[in-house]
């Protein structure tokens, strides 16, 4: 998929654990794991907003488009 999820990078930068982020966003760790591993098919705006709010970042910090990547 050309969209790359850099959530791991942001979690490391902010020194936040997945469990804490999952609780703050209102989802499960399994769901977050789906996002981190790139298996997610879609992400709700509400989830993206909650992640960006908690990690104090922009959507572009988490989502990256790489042309030609499958």
């Amino acid at each position: 998929m050309p969209i790359v999820i850099n959530l791991d990078v942001m979690l490391a930068k902010r020194k936040v654990r997945s469990k804490a982020l999952a609780e703050a966003v209102g989802t499960t760790e399994q769901n977050l794991s789906i996002l981190k591993t790139g298996k997610a098919k879609a992400i709700r705006f509400s989830t993206l907003e909650a992640i960006c709010k908690y990690l104090n970042c922009q959507p572009a910090d988490i989502l990256e488009y790489i042309q030609g990547k499958d």
């Binding site: 989802t27 769901n31 789906i34 298996k39 997610a40 098919k41 879609a42 992400i43 709700r44």
Partner: protein, 183 residues
């Protein structure tokens, strides 16, 4: 064992039995040198599986060659029917193991529908071959017989519905997967 498992198990074993018995019946039928003439007093035990067109009347004794050829030609529709039974066995086996919402079930359903459609599409071809082979012994007269009854139309309709339903279930499964992978 719940109700689905019990019924699936019964149906599976009934189909396994049919899978074994059907070829044996057909072999026995052709070995016994069939004759469709009512005047001969003999009636088929296995009319349902002899594949001979209803319009064809055979009033003579069939040669060994005709019997063998008839049997070989009948293997064509029989193999499709055995394939249908095999797919249904696998389907009920999955249901017995409570794998109800599996993508494999969709595949089995679609393949069953396709094989069922195939049995009707090849019907004209093997019936023509069969009628040629069975009337070849007659002196001076040969016949070609084709039968296409309302039951054939019904089977075609059912097979197309099975293919359609399998597609719908597959689309539903894809939507469900997408929903499951939406964060």
């Amino acid at each position: 064992m719940n109700k689905i498992q019990r019924i699936s198990c019964c149906l599976k074993w009934a189909l396994v039995l049919t899978l074994i018995v059907l070829p044996i019946f057909m072999l026995a039928f052709w070995w016994a040198a069939p004759c469709t003439s009512a005047s001969s007093g003999s009636h088929h035990v296995s009319l349902a599986i002899n594949y001979i067109p209803e319009a064809l009347k055979i009033n003579h004794h069939l040669s060994s060659q005709a019997q063998i050829l008839g049997f070989l030609i009948c293997l064509i529709p029989l193999s499709l029917q055995l394939l249908i039974i095999y797919f249904l066995i696998r389907l009920f086996q999955n249901l017995q193991q409570i794998k109800i919402f599996s993508l494999n079930n969709v595949t089995y359903l679609r393949h069953t529908g396709l094989a069922l459609l195939g049995t009707q599409l090849i019907k004209p071809f093997y019936q023509v071959l069969l009628s040629l082979v069975l009337t070849w012994d007659k002196n001076g007269q040969h016949a070609i017989a084709l039968s296409f009854s309302t039951s054939s139309f019904a089977i075609i309709l059912i097979s197309m519905l099975m293919i359609l339903f399998s597609w719908i279930i597959q689309e539903g499964y894809s939507l469900q997967q997408e929903q499951r992978l939406t964060v």
